[in-house]
Amino acid sequence: MTTQNKPKIGVYICHCGMNIAPKVDVEEVARYIQELDHVTVARDYKFMCSNPGQDMIINDIKELGLNRVVVASCSPRMHEKTFRNAVRTAGLNPYYFQMANIREQVSWVTKDSQEATEKAKSMVAAAVARVFFHQPLDTREVTVAKSVLVIGGGIAGMQAALTSANAGYQVSLVEREPSIGGHMAKFDKTFPTLDCAACIMTPKMVDVLQHPGITLYTWSEVEKVEGFIGNFEVTVKKKPRYVDEKKCTGCGTCMQKCPTKKILSEFNEGLSFRTAIYTPFPQAVPNVPVIDATHCRVLGQNKKCGVCAKFCETKAIDFDQKPEFVTLKIGAIITATGFQAVNPTSLEQYGYGRFPEVYTSMEFERLNNATGPTSGKVLMKNGMVPKRVAIIHCVGSRDTRHKKYCSRVCCMYSMKFAHLLREKTGAEVWEFYIDIRSPGKLYEEFYNRVQEEGVRFIRGRVAEITDMVEDPGDEGRLTVIAESTLTRRTVRVPVDMVVLSVGLEPARGSEDIGRLLGLSRDGDGWFNELHAKLAPLATPINGIFLAGCCQGPKDIPDTVAQAMGAAGEAIALLAKGIVTTQAEISRIDPDLCSGCKSCIESCTYSAIRFDEARKVAVVNEALCMGCGSCAAACPSSAAGVKHFTDKQVMGEIEALLM
């Protein structure tokens, strides 16, 4: 054995301030560990992750000739990198290191102090047993493709694309709808400043379109993602538009002439109609229509029509267009797939779908929008202006039977609606709320403002919306029944119109995107960030970042800030230009391999090939992800993942059961 291989182990028990120490008797653990074979030194210290803590390790490596290190502290997900770097600084291979998680797994979850100490001892001893078998591992540096993929063309995706492109990187922005703009494009005003959404949004859309660094793929979807950080290979499917983007001038004649006119407009939330060849809204970017193949007479019903093609002067209509697949080399991916509004139909007490004058907030946004079905006039279905409107908060949110979480934006947009209703119609507005949540710059001030504008606030969840009226004079109106929890009385308010402030949920299809990218989702379906506080934009997958509502409900300012942050993360990665490949990948021992090919069959990434000359399986290190399927499948123990070898894992098991 060389000196390097004759184990001299240093063990460091962290107090983590008051997080580990009072529950776990750290001195007792250190005393116990000091007696174990191969342990040269065992110390305890207040904060191992601090500078003095790390210096302690570095000095011991240098002065005592340690060649293996164990730190017993928090989760390796927190500080494994920190300590590996310290070990590397001292000149030791960073993989001669093991962590024992005695905070998250011991001190924080164990009631009895003695039990906690015993568990800690056993876990630290297991880490010592494991590190004994550790081997030095090498990483390689690979160059990074200087390009960013942004998935989703709402305000988050657009901002992320612009920031990344402004830094000089090539950006591909993929949007599944015919136009970028997302939800924000549907809004008229934004809280709390009452900025005109279109005025701040549409120029940004044009910026995205015209930016030389951004390639826009609208009406497109991400089909396949392969590779790893810095070197993703992404396949984008361009769905057939049936309109040649290069030839189309956006004159709109096709839309005027299309005879299929009675299709409910998705953009206007079904409150108006569109044609079969359409752009979702007049300011769409790009201003190139798509043909809705289901409703088109030629494509969907096999009838003779082709009116659009007849009138198109540039001959841009192409009924034979097929899906097109584009392969992109991508360095970093920003996921900005956003949200969708909760459909309140199943919340039967609110009568959505039964009563025509019950609207969702998204429908009201369109009703109130200058480009909407009523050109911005708030009108009921009968064309009259409502005299009294109820706005119901927390529809689908903060409800144990539905979504438990607060959707964060509903209180504020509800009050925006109230203000706009007062301003436009003079109608009496009643807001039914549970709590008003207005934490944001100028938000509380806006709440005060709408109160001063005469909006009534009733604190209580609405029990029912009914068309049964008490006073015959109110016939035809809806009655909102709620308990005012402040006056402890039931209130019955006859109204002309009800707006349901529905919550936010992950966008349709985010499950599929998660699967494509390998991102995990929380119980509510939002994408998990790497760390709730310290890495809110990163994901467990290196090189993939999150922006906007796909990570959880957010308002526009937070979304834009997060998008810029995610772009910053991507830029930081690309600017460095190189990434280090992971060392924990599979290795097949050619002396043990029997050539049975079980591993090749088990490998999801096609990272193992068969060497016909030697009759053994060989791992392609660039493709291997280190999942270890091959290791478990190999009948002769020839395949194994570095840093998860049989000796290491079984050494740990043995020590834990001593």
């Binding site: 998250e104 499950e511 995990s520 467990p540 478990a632 098991i653 059961l657």
Partner: protein, 145 residues
């Protein structure tokens, strides 16, 4: 620790868990201070798909009273389908441990997502209780280990 009324039997339980889901859920249980009995000894794997059947057998032969495997929900595997590969192996592993005299119930596979701290706590408590009720493995005493 779960202590039985009749004796001082304290089950020893090994949990082999996936880094991306159950291990993270355990961290979350920790951050949220969700307590559970201290009998569990957890080993971090990169994926349930890399758990070699011999690790499980090794744990039982070394004196574990129960072995818990925690993986990602189907469809959520970080490596696409490693969890399902392990699930396929379960029946075989159960047959092997039975032949060694360990009851199949001493091995449990559960899917626990990264955000499911309370589920992690519940699963640990429940499994420890099950093993507690089963008593020490009868095979343990018969073997020279």
């Amino acid at each position: 620790m779960v202590k039985s009324m009749s004796d001082d039997y304290q089950p020893k339980i090994i949990a082999l868990v996936c880094n991306w889901c159950t291990y993270t859920a355990a961290d979350l249980a920790g951050t949220s201070r969700l307590c559970y009995p201290s009998n569990i000894r957890m080993i971090r794997m990169m994926c349930t798909g890399m758990i070699d059947p011999k690790y499980i057998l090794k744990a039982f032969l070394d004196g574990a009273d129960g072995v818990f495997i925690g993986g990602c929900h189907p469809g959520d595997c970080h490596y696409i389908n490693g969890n399902l590969k392990f699930k396929k192996r379960m029946a075989g592993i159960e047959a092997i441990i039975s032949q060694f005299g360990f009851e199949e119930d001493r091995l449990r596979l559960r899917w626990i997502g990264a955000s499911e701290g309370p589920e992690f706590q519940h699963n640990m408590t429940d499994f420890i209780q099950t093993i507690q009720n089963m008593g020490p493995s009868p095979a343990k005493g018969l073997m020279v280990l």
